[in-house]
C-alpha cells in the first residue's frame, strides 16, 4: 500500500506496532553501519588525495604545488625547517577559521568551496594537530545523512520499515562503498547531495501540490551540491531532464515553473558566492578533458567491466542469474502483480535513467576513475533494491510478506556481492594500514631528528611522505641521481642548526652500508636511521 506522507507527518509506525518494531531494527542496523564505518575510518590511509585535501584546506601560503615553490623556501645548504612543511597541512593559531585562504586555494584549484571549508573548520577546531579523522568525520556525517534518507525514502515508497534493510545490505557489502567511506575527498558529500536531490524528486512526482519548504530544500540542495563538486551539475541535469519531460507530459506547468525557478535560484546563489566556476568549467582553467577517447568497442567493454567491478564486486553474471531466476519464478508461479502505482514506475525510470545517463557522460569524460562515478552508486543501490523488492514481493506468500521479501532480497544481495569480497578488501586495507601507521609512528618517534629524503620523482606530494616529513625538525631532499653517485656526504649534512640525529627516506635497492639502520619500510622506500659518524 502506497503511503504518501502528509504535511507534518513523520516516518513512523503509522499506528502499526509491528512497523514500529521493524523500524527499531532498521535503526539498529543503521547504527551498526555507522559504527563499523567509523572503525574502518580509524584505519584510514590518507594518500595523495588526502595530502591535497589537507594542504588545499589549510595552507596559509598561496602556492598550490610545493615542487615549484621549493626553491623559494629559505634554505641553508638545502636544509629547511620542517615546520614549513607542517604549516601547509595543519591549522595553527594564526589561521584558525581563516576562510579567505580556503577561498583563494579553491580559486586556483578546480573545485568549489564547501568540502574544503568543512575540512578547514574541523581542523580549526582541532588546531595545532593532525589526524586522519578530521576528514573522516566529514565523511561519517554525510554517511549518517545518507542512511537517514534511505530509511525515509523506503518508508515513503513502500510504507514498510523492513524494506530499508535491503539497501543497507549494499552499503555493507559493496567494496566501492567502503572505499568511498575512507576516501579523504568530497565524494561522500557529493553522494549525499545527489541522493538528497533524487529523494526530493519522489515528492515532486507523487504530489501535485508542492510545499514551499520542498522547493526551498531543493534550492538549498542545488546550492550546496554545486558547491561540493561540479559533477553535481551533471547528475542534477540527468535527473532534471526526466522531471521536466514528466511535468510537461502531465501539463503540470505551475509545478514546472517553480521547479525550474528553485533550481535557478540555487545556482545563482552558488555563482554569486563563487563565480570562479566560469574559469574552472567554461574556460577550462586546468585544461581538463582535452583528450577524450571516443566510444569504441574497447571503451564499451571497459565501461561494462567497470560497472561489473564497482556495482557488483565483479560478480555481475551472478546478479543477472539471480534476476533471471526471480523472473522465471514470477512467470512459473503465475503471480499477478500487485498493481504498482504509476508514480513508482516513473520513479524507477527516473532513478535508472539518471544514473545511466550520468555514468555515460562521466565515463566519456573520465573513463574508469571510480570516485567520479560516485552519484551512480547510491542511485544504483536504490534502483536495484527496488527491482529486487518488486520481483520478490510477487513470489513470497502473504503471511509474513514484509519479512520474507526483505530477507530474501538481502540473501540475494549477499549471494551477488559476497561477504568474502568485502572481507578480502578489508584485510588488504588493514594490512596496508599497519605498514602506513608504522611509518607514521616512526616519524613521530624520531621527531627531534632531521630528515633527508632521497627524491626519485616529483609529484608535488613528496611521493606521499609529506605528512611524515612535517614531523621532523629539519628537512632536506637530495635527488636520487646524486645519491646513486656519491651517497650522503659530510657536505650534505652541513647547514643544519644542530647535530640532531638523522633519518633517511630512500629507495631500499640503492641503500647499502652499515651506517643505515632500517626502521620501517613501505613499497620500495625504507626509513633508515643514519649513523652520521660513519659518513665520509
Amino acid at each position: 500500500m502506497q503511503l504518501n506522507l502528509k504535511d507534518g507527518q513523520k516516518v513512523g509506525h503509522n499506528g502499526n506496532p509491528a512497523e514500529f518494531k521493524r523500524m527499531r531494527y532498521v535503526i539498529i542496523i543503521m547504527f551498526i553501519h555507522i559504527g563499523l564505518t567509523f572503525w574502518l575510518q580509524t584505519h584510514a590511509q590518507i594518500g595523495g588525495d588526502g595530502i591535497f585535501t589537507y594542504t588545499l584546506a589549510n595552507n596559509p601560503y598561496s602556492f598550490e604545488y610545493i615542487d615549484y615553490t621549493y626553491k623559494r623556501l629559505p634554505q641553508n645548504n638545502g636544509w629547511i625547517s620542517a615546520h614549513i612543511l607542517r604549516e601547509s597541512y595543519i591549522i595553527e593559531d594564526y589561521d584558525k577559521f581563516n576562510y579567505s585562504s580556503v577561498y583563494f586555494h579553491q580559486r586556483i584549484d578546480n573545485h568549489p568551496l564547501l568540502y574544503y571549508t568543512l575540512v578547514h573548520t574541523v581542523c580549526s577546531i582541532f588546531a595545532n594537530s593532525y589526524s586522519n579523522l578530521y576528514t573522516m568525520i566529514i565523511n561519517l556525517f554525510f554517511l549518517c545523512a545518507v542512511d537517514i534518507l534511505i530509511i525515509r525514502l523506503f518508508w515513503k515508497l513502500y510504507g514498510k520499515a523492513g524494506y530499508a534493510v535491503v539497501p543497507f545490505a549494499f552499503l555493507f557489502l559493496m567494496v566501492v562503498m567502503q572505499e568511498l567511506y575512507v576516501l579523504p575527498r568530497m565524494y561522500m558529500a557529493l553522494a549525499f547531495f545527489c541522493f538528497w536531490y533524487l529523494y526530493m524528486h519522489w515528492n515532486f512526482i507523487s504530489n501535485e501540490e508542492w510545499k514551499k519548504s520542498d522547493l526551498v530544500k531543493m534550492t538549498v540542495c542545488v546550492f550546496l551540491g554545486t558547491q561540493t563538486h561540479y559533477y553535481f551539475y551533471v547528475y542534477a541535469f540527468s535527473l532534471t531532464v526526466f522531471t521536466i519531460v514528466y511535468l510537461l507530459f502531465k501539463h503540470r506547468k505551475n509545478n514546472l515553473f517553480w521547479y525550474v525557478y528553485s533550481g535557478i535560484i540555487g545556482i545563482a546563489v552558488s555563482w554569486i558566492l563563487f563565480p570562479w566556476i566560469i574559469w574552472h568549467i567554461f574556460l577550462n582553467q586546468m585544461s581538463k578533458h582535452t583528450e577524450i577517447e571516443s566510444w569504441s568497442l574497447k571503451k564499451f567493454n571497459e565501461y561494462v567491466q567497470f560497472l561489473n567491478d564497482k556495482l557488483f564486486n565483479g560478480r555481475g553474471m551472478i546478479a543477472i542469474g539471480i534476476i533471471a531466476v526471480l523472473c522465471i519464478c514470477v512467470v512459473l508461479l503465475k503471480k499477478t502483480a500487485k498493481p504498482k502505482t504509476s508514480n513508482l514506475v516513473r520513479f524507477h525510470v527516473m532513478v535508472f535513467g539518471s544514473g545511466f545517463i550520468y555514468s555515460l557522460i562521466i565515463f566519456t569524460l573520465d573513463d574508469a576513475i571510480w570516485y567520479y562515478m560516485t552519484p551512480l552508486f547510491l542511485t544504483f543501490i536504490l534502483w536495484f533494491s527496488m527491482i529486487l523488492l518488486g520481483l520478490i514481493e510477487r513470489i513470497v506468500p502473504q503471511k509474513r510478506k514484509e519479512a520474507l521479501t526483505s530477507g530474501t532480497a538481502v540473501i540475494c544481495i549477499i549471494i551477488v556481492l559476497s561477504i568474502s569480497a568485502v572481507i578480502d578488501w578489508a584485510q588488504a586495507y588493514l594490512k596496508e594500514y599497519n605498514i602506513v601507521v608504522n611509518l607514521r609512528n616512526t616519524a613521530q618517534e624520531y621527531q627531534q631528528y632531521d630528515c633527508i629524503f632521497i627524491e626519485q620523482y616529483q609529484n608535488n606530494l613528496f611521493q606521499g611522505y609529506w605528512f611524515e616529513f612535517g614531523d621532523y625538525d629539519e628537512f632536506k631532499k637530495i635527488p636520487l641521481t646524486d645519491f646513486q653517485q656519491k651517497g650522503i656526504t659530510k657536505e650534505d649534512l652541513m647547514g643544519r642548526k644542530d647535530d640532531s640525529g638523522l633519518i633517511v627516506y630512500a629507495p631500499m635497492e640503492y641503500v647499502n652500508g652499515k651506517e643505515y639502520k632500517l626502521l620501517a619500510s613501505r613499497g620500495s622506500y625504507g626509513v633508515y636511521e643514519l649513523d652520521d659518524e660513519a659518513i665520509q
Binding site: Y61, S62, F63, P74, D95, F104, A268, I272, L273, P275
Partner: protein, 119 residues
Amino acid sequence: MKNYFKFLQAKIYLGILIVLGCAMLGSVLGARKESKESLPEITERDIQILQQDDISAPELIGVLPLAAEQNKWYNFKFAGIFGCLGILLYCILMAAYLPLYNFAFFQAVRKWLGLVENK
C-alpha cells in the same frame, strides 16, 4: 501607490530572480576584473606583521605570499552593487508592468507559465 507596493510584494519571486540574476552578473564581472589584475603577492600588512614579534604568523610571512591576502573580493563588491541595481530594475519593471498586468498578452503568458493568479 499602495497597489504598487502590494504588487511588488505579490511578485517578490520575480524580484528575487532579478536581484540574484544581477548580483550573479556582478559577481562574474568582478571575478573577471580580478582575474585580469596581478595578485597582491606580499603585502604591506605582511611586512608589518613580520616586524612585530608578538603576533602569531606563518613562519615564511614576508617571504612567501599568504593565500588569504590574495583575494581582492571584487566579485562580492560588484555583486552588491549589481544587486542594488537589480532592486531598482525590479521596481522600474514592476512599475511598467502594473498598468499592463491585465492585458490579454500578459494573461496568456502567465497562463502558459502556469502561474496561479492571486485572488
